[in-house]
């Protein structure tokens, strides 16, 4: 049974004349929630607000039952928060161990031995136990991404906020990450943003589709996929009336949109429903579709 742990109403955040969040409402609870949306949809801004590092211009927010707009509330939340920002950087001269230990000190793990054990535990969780003594500058991009994830897992946080956590991970690491996150979501709250609809289908108990600073959909993963029922079909040629179409294999095209009479309808995926919701005119889905054009 999920309990509501994040409750946001009417969040607004503007950068100059650009509104990153435009009256966004969100209610989510324990389990893994995936944020899907094209670039510039407001995902990062929303996650930064949830992680208490950015204050919105307007709106109400409750995180883990606390008000993040008060100093005490923020402190309370931060003690229970693990945060992986989009560009998680570390000082390049630190070893992997030192980098995570540095964050552990700032998370107020004061007892040295306990802190070191905890650092080793999270490095082991993300498969970096063997390179704990290596300098950050000597780590690969994927390893640095996992280092960012390791620091977020310090102290088994009640709330994990992960911005694009699977970027830079190879397929095997991505599988391992999914296991980690699914486990972290048991009885706790994980909110992650991603471009990968497969990630959402694999680990998320609920999904939120965001575009232009507003929520277009909130619900279960299956529920999202079902939204596209009757609007996905396969044909031997490309149908120009479809909202989007891409080649599946030899002379078979996957279509989404309003199907013609007698079309061969197929089971919709999360990706189909997402593209239907966001529309191919948006920046990311447009790029996605262009990539799928046959050469």
């Amino acid at each position: 049974m999920t309990t509501t742990t994040i409750h946001a109403t009417g969040l607004v955040k503007a950068y100059g004349r650009q509104r990153a969040l435009d009256g966004l409402d969100l209610a989510t609870g324990t389990g893994v929630t995936g944020l899907l949306g094209p670039n510039g949809a407001g995902k990062t801004t929303l996650l930064r607000i949830l992680a208490t590092v950015l204050a919105p211009d307007a709106g109400d927010l409750e995180v883990l039952g606390q008000d993040p707009f008060t100093a005490e509330g923020r402190r309370w939340i931060r003690h229970r928060l693990g945060y992986l920002p989009q560009d998680a950087g570390f000082h390049r001269g630190f070893t992997a161990f030192e980098a995570v230990d540095y964050v552990a000190v700032l998370k107020e793990h004061t007892e040295t031995r306990f802190r070191h054990d905890e650092v080793r535990r999270v490095l082991g969780l993300v498969g970096l136990g063997d390179v704990a003594g290596k300098k950050v500058r000597a780590l690969s991009g994927g390893m640095r991404q996992r280092l960012g994830l390791a620091q977020a897992l310090l102290g088994r946080p009640e709330l994990l906020v992960l911005d694009e956590p699977t970027v830079g991970l190879d397929p095997e690491q991505r599988m391992r990450f999914r296991d980690l996150v699914s486990e972290a979501g048991h009885g706790r709250t994980v909110v992650l943003s991603t471009h990968q609809t497969e990630d959402v289908a694999a680990v998320c108990s609920s999904v939120v589709v965001v575009n232009r600073g507003r929520v277009l959909f909130t619900g279960g993963v299956d529920e999202l996929a079902r939204q596209a029922t009757g609007r996905v079909w396969v044909d031997t040629g490309r149908d120009p009336r479809a909202l989007a179409a891409w080649r599946l294999g030899a002379d078979r095209y996957h279509h989404i949109g309003e199907p013609p009479a007698g079309a061969h309808l197929v089971e919709p995926s999360v990706e189909d429903a997402y593209l239907l919701l966001v529309g191919p005119q948006s920046e990311a889905s447009d790029g996605e579709l262009r990539k799928r054009e046959p050469a």
Binding site: A71, R78, A88, G89, F94, A99, Y102, T112, H116, R120
Partner: protein, 277 residues
Amino acid sequence: MSTATNGWHLDEELARRYAENRVPGMLATSVEQHLASCPACRALLRPAVPTARLAAVWAEVLERVEAPQVGVLERLLRRAGLDEPTARLVAVTPLLRTSWLAGTTLVLVLALLAAETGAQAVALFLVLAPMLPVAGVALTFGPAADPAHEIVAGTPYSPVRLLAVRTLVVVSSTFLPAGMAAALLPVDVGLALAWLLPALTLTVGTLALSTQLTPHVAASTLGIGWVSVVLYGVARHDPFLAAAPVVQLACLAGLALAAAVLLFRSHDLAEILRRIP
């Protein structure tokens, strides 16, 4: 392998004594050699092994091997009474090396200049020395100071405390080389020490002004102010105006005011720091 050990195997009694470390040296060596090649005896030994103790020993080995090296600075800070987490934080402040380098460079440049030109070097020193910690404090904020800045912003550690710790690092790592440079100057002690009070005032002033402005603006404002004072002196053919009692007294008053502002407005500073990213 029975051929290697003449058909000899462990019995339960020997296994238990071995596990409890009660077997004398020579026999223990034989047991070890035998265990390496005899799965049956390893199986016999397994239940007798105190796994909790071994795990503790292994954890201790890892701790010794992997835990960060404690450097000279960190050891000194611990000895001075700073708690371990804070000492760690000071020692790993990413800005430390940069500010130390900048300070040392200043020392070298001024030492060279002093040998050549004398009075002009002193004037230049009086402009630069107080600016060094101010620049350091301004750089203490934001991504330039710490690539993990966004992660740090989401931790419960008080931003004001973190700023205080880092200021301490920057100030001490710039004051020390500046002091050394002062000792190299071909002037009397009073003139050589004239930078100290303005440096303190500008540093604390930057923090105090940061309760109203962003730290970069605060540092720039005070920096420009200080350079103007020294340039005014130079224009009036008084390159040592900064060392004059009136300027020094004004600095003292400024220091007291800035300290008072900091004391009463630290909450505002925390808010400003929060808004920077």
